[in-house]
């Protein structure tokens, strides 16, 4: 039935209660018919251009690069309306909601960027939005909670479990199981049950597509490496999608190393490479020996998730992409470096990718061009940074 396979190698699938299967089938149909519907593409294209502000610039961060041999280019998704790449695919899913004749959106959010994007698009399209957010994340990300409320969304704090993204996803799934007739679950990342990993990738693909053309224009060739942070993995898969077939381009995903990979306090499931099933998908999952899901840790609420999208698991397993980890401290260094050198305040998520690029650039002994996805802006993270500095 479906044009896309639900599986990426052994990863992916549709692990949901039976009652949600018809809703996922309906979404698959709406998504696949929209992909080949010129009127849908035209409407989405207009919104991406005039509402979201695409194409985003590609900026060469000449002051940031610590090594004259290494050129670092930033894909400026922080300049998308809403402050992050999240808006790209939320616009598409908002239109799909209408296409399915639904009037409500259920969403979950970690850092709040997906929540803000969802609230924005719901307001603009006249849809009701209920957004689940871990209680701990509500605290970490107050400005974003306020933004969502300003735009008319209902923000529901989730106290169960670790009070972070994982628990917000559980609640969103429960809400959806009760309200699938009237509500679309607007999943925020390239994870979850089929068709979400494909759907989110296809609507984030524009990041890499633009970046590829912009690199060719800027330097006449593709970069040596494309680098992006990976929580669930939506900005990374968006950057990677059009480069997967370009074998000369290294793909690097940067997982949150938290307090260190050997401390157990991190959010790097690909590093652990333990296959499990959570939130509708089979993928790499942080879990104990018996299959209970472990809590992840990252200074970045947006990366604080114990699993990862199934295509990333597949890209890691097949070796097409490499996944590395950057600690909280290294990410903060990257954050500060970009603020000072270029006058750009990045999201802490994106700072993980920046920190890896800086580390790699410092060690480089030959000429290299690095493309870093600056997935979001850091205004929402100022509280985290201020608290950190106050504590020091």
């Amino acid at each position: 039935m479906s044009h896309f396979s639900p599986y990426f190698g052994e990863f992916g699938g549709t692990y949901v209660p039976e009652i949600l299967v018809p809703a996922l089938d309906q979404l698959t149909e709406a998504f696949e018919s929209a992909l080949v519907d010129p009127s849908f593409q035209e409407e989405l294209g207009k919104l991406l251009k005039h509402y979201a502000g695409r194409p985003t610039p590609l900026y060469e961060a000449t002051h940031l690069s610590p090594n004259p041999l290494v050129r670092i280019f930033l894909k400026r998704e922080d300049l998308v309306h809403g402050g992050a790449h999240k808006t790209n695919q939320v616009l598409a899913q908002g239109l799909l909601t209408q296409r399915m004749g639904k009037k409500e959106i259920i969403a979950e959010t970690g850092a709040g960027q997906h929540g803000v994007a969802t609230a924005m698009v719901a307001a603009m399209l006249g849809l009701k939005a209920r957004i689940y957010m871990g209680a701990k994340d509500c605290e970490r990300q107050q400005p974003n909670v306020y933004r969502m409320k300003l735009m008319g969304a209902e923000v529901i704090p989730v106290h169960s479990g670790s009070g972070t993204l994982k628990d917000a996803v559980n609640e969103a799934l429960r809400d959806w199981a009760a309200n699938y007739d009237s509500a679309h679950y607007l999943l925020g990342t390239a994870a979850g049950p089929h068709p979400f990993p494909h759907l989110v990738r296809e609507f984030q693909r524009i990041i890499g597509k633009e970046a590829k053309a912009q690199m060719l224009e800027a330097i006449g060739r593709l970069p040596d490496a494309a680098i992006a942070c990976v929580g669930g993995g939506s900005n990374a898969i968006g950057l990677f999608a059009d480069f997967i077939e370009e074998k000369g381009v290294e793909l690097i995903g940067v997982e949150p190393g938290g307090e260190g990979l050997d401390t157990g306090k991190h959010g790097a499931p690909i590093h652990l490479a333990r296959v499990g099933i959570l939130h509708g998908m089979k993928s790499y999952l942080m879990q104990d020996g018996e299959g209970q899901v472990e809590e992840s840790h990252s200074i970045s609420a947006g990366l604080d998730y114990p699993a990862v999208g199934p295509q990333h698991a597949y890209l890691a397993q097949t070796g097409r992409a490499q996944y590395v980890a950057i600690t909280d401290d290294e990410a903060i260094e990257g954050f500060k470096a970009l603020c000072r050198s270029e006058g750009i305040i990045p999201a802490i998520e994106s700072s993980h990718a920046l920190a890896y690029a800086l580390k790699r650039a410092k060690a480089a002994t030959k000429e290299e061009v690095l493309l870093v996805n600056l997935s979001g802006r850091g205004d929402k993270d100022l509280n985290t940074i201020m608290n950190l500095e106050a504590a020091q």
Partner: protein
Amino acid sequence: MSLYDAMFERLRADKEGAFIPFLTLGDPDLETSFEHLCIMAENGADALELGMPFSDPVADGPTIQAATLRALGAGTTPKKALGLIRRLKDKYPELPVGLLTYANLVFAAGIEQFYQDAKAAGVDSVLVADVPLKESAPFVAAAKAASVAPVMIAPPNATDATLKAVAELSEGYVYLVSRAGVTGTETAAGKPLGHIIETLKGYNSAPVVLGFGISEPSQVKAALASGCDGAISGSATVKAAERSPHALARFVEGMKAASR
């Protein structure tokens, strides 16, 4: 003949329906949990449905989620949960016992190993809450290989094709979900599901047992009147057990009385 077959045959002869209470294994701790299981067996439960605690029970509502967290907090592991079932079956060998679990617990143990361990513990059926028909093949195969009945869910929004597949695959019984949503008494059972029951039976399904939102004797009567062979009560049973052993005994007794 399986214990489920024997049970439904006995009930049919007596013109009764089945009442199947649900509790989470290891809630609030292993010893109290074992007492609760025995209380249900002694007070009229025809079979038991028992939940293996999982950290992320997305198909369950707040009451069962809280029970799960208590069980995990008390150190209940899948092995210890199966140990409780073994003790129960040593005491009540004729009582059919179903296990409700989540895909990751099965997968983490190894799918085949999980079903073999369940069988060794005396489990008669396994329902995996987040494995729908389209992912069920390896789970059903492992269940059949271990002589454990795979129980499938028939949701209220099922198509005819889904019901046909459920009827073909489900053994022991079919778990008919009364309404959209997750487990819990916050939302009452939904509208009559006569057409779904008829369709399932038309495909020669195993006996049909209604669940979700069943908390009162009148709902057990209504389920049987609509053509179901029994009813499962989860969250209301958990709440009764939270009150006292006596409340649990009276609850099971009252619900069973309604099935006669």
